[in-house]
């Protein structure tokens, strides 16, 4: 299949720069190696000295650099080293792989993410996808990275913040509850293309709601952790 992983092929890349998104989340931009082509929504494996992790590319295919969004997990096996990485540091990455691709031209699309599961939707938007409904489940408002670019491109953008996460303030357009609560209580019945990316529990519970409330919809999923 055309977008499958070519496990034989790897690329050596050097870090171009790091961009902070929040205190615990950042983007890494790598110099783009010759011949590296990908489709929005695809992932790479980043090989570190002690671990390898999959990351979705968050840039557009025509960007000068390859970018990924990293959540710093204190005590983690790879992200602390990535948080310390400096321009010029070299890494090995896989060829792009994965099938979580936008395929809803002319259909109503609903994107639902938790945490850094927002990454493929950023890639979609940076590649020109518009007019979707986006639900982003986070614990606090500070985790709504990419809010500006996403809200400008979405027909409806609804941060989903449970009540206990409102201590740093709640944007006026936020839904008070989980992504699944929004799907259950706020999204009009109908037929959609759902794209679910994030925590396993969200993907599982959202799929059950979709089966019940939105028959004949299509569901594409990417589970992060």
């Amino acid at each position: 299949m055309g977008t499958g992983r070519n496990r034989q092929q790897c690329y050596r890349v050097s870090l171009d720069h790091r961009r902070s998104l929040t205190s615990g989340t950042f983007e890494l931009h790598f110099a783009r190696p010759a011949g590296f082509e990908f489709r929005p929504g695809q992932k790479i494996t980043l090989f570190g000295d002690t671990a390898a992790r999959d990351y979705t590319l968050v840039g557009a295919p025509e960007d000068r650099t390859l970018s990924i969004c990293v959540r710093h997990v204190p005590g983690g096996r790879l992200s602390p080293a990535l948080a310390r990485a400096e321009a010029g540091d070299r890494f090995q990455i896989s060829a792009p792989f994965g099938f979580f691709l936008y395929q809803s031209a002319g259909r109503r699309a609903v994107f639902a993410a938790t945490g850094t599961g927002i990454a493929p939707f950023v890639a979609f938007v940076r590649s020109g996808v518009r007019g979707f409904c986006l639900l982003h489940g986070v614990r606090t408002q500070r985790q709504l990275y990419y809010r500006d670019i996403l809200s400008q491109s979405a027909e409806q953008y609804s941060p989903c913040i449970p009540g206990s996460g409102a201590h740093d303030g709640r944007p006026p357009d936020a839904y008070s509850g989980r992504v699944t609560g929004f799907l259950e209580n706020c999204l009009s019945r109908g037929t959609y293309d759902f794209y679910l990316c994030g925590r396993r529990e969200m993907v599982r519970d959202a799929t059950r709601i979709i089966d019940r409330r939105f028959p004949d919809s299509r569901v594409f999923t990417e589970t992060f952790f």
Binding site: A105, D193, V203, R204, S217, R218
Partner: protein
């Protein structure tokens, strides 16, 4: 990443092209049988005798397993959907490739003029399992074609491929017994 998602706990699953269907949908039955066939082929690989000629069969089976993933992917995709654009065309050359391998193995075998009982060397026994599961997969794909037109370029080749693949496993079973020195048991009625 954990292998279980729980999204199928209510008896429904997603096709590669995104549609949610019941797990007893004809399309699921079809690619499920292909998946089962692939597992049987894996068992056959594991049971092959240690022999240079068997290494050739081993390489053929590994290619067949890869081809079966393509078959499964096509069966899991609604024709005309955007997801279909992500799939490589189903090879028109695959049936001919099988025929070449069948002919090469048959050159080493005695002509057959009676039914044989499935069995013999473990690799041959697994080849018979693969042969029969392949026939079941073929029946499901025919049912799918009748109920929901397969409708993709190469669909006819897929049916030819499954038909020929079953023949391949029949001959491969005989060939494995030949390599292992196992006498075939004829059916005497």
């Amino acid at each position: 990443m954990k292998v279980y998602t729980g999204t199928g706990d209510q008896g429904r699953t997603s096709l590669f092209s995104g549609e949610r269907v019941a797990k007893n949908d004809v399309r699921i039955a079809a690619y499920g049988a292909v998946d089962e066939l692939n597992a049987a082929v894996g068992a056959m690989v594991a049971a092959l005798p240690e022999d240079r000629a068997a290494d050739v069969v081993n390489a053929q089976l590994v290619r067949i397993q890869s081809d079966l993933f393509h078959v499964g992917a096509w069966l899991a995709t609604v024709p005309g959907s955007p997801a279909a654009d992500q799939l490589a065309p189903f090879s028109e050359a695959a049936p001919q490739w099988l025929e070449d391998k069948i002919d090469a193995m048959e050159d080493h075998l005695e002509p057959l003029n009676a039914f044989i009982l499935p069995g013999g060397h473990p690799s041959a026994a697994w080849a018979h399992v693969a042969r029969t599961v392949c026939r079941r997969a073929e029946r499901h794909v025919v049912g799918l074609a009748e109920e929901k037109a397969l409708g993709f370029e190469g669909a006819q080749q897929m049916l030819v491929y499954l038909n020929r693949l079953s023949d391949y496993f029949f001959v491969a079973a005989r060939y494995c017994n030949h390599l292992a020195g196992c006498k075939e048991t004829l059916w005497h009625g």
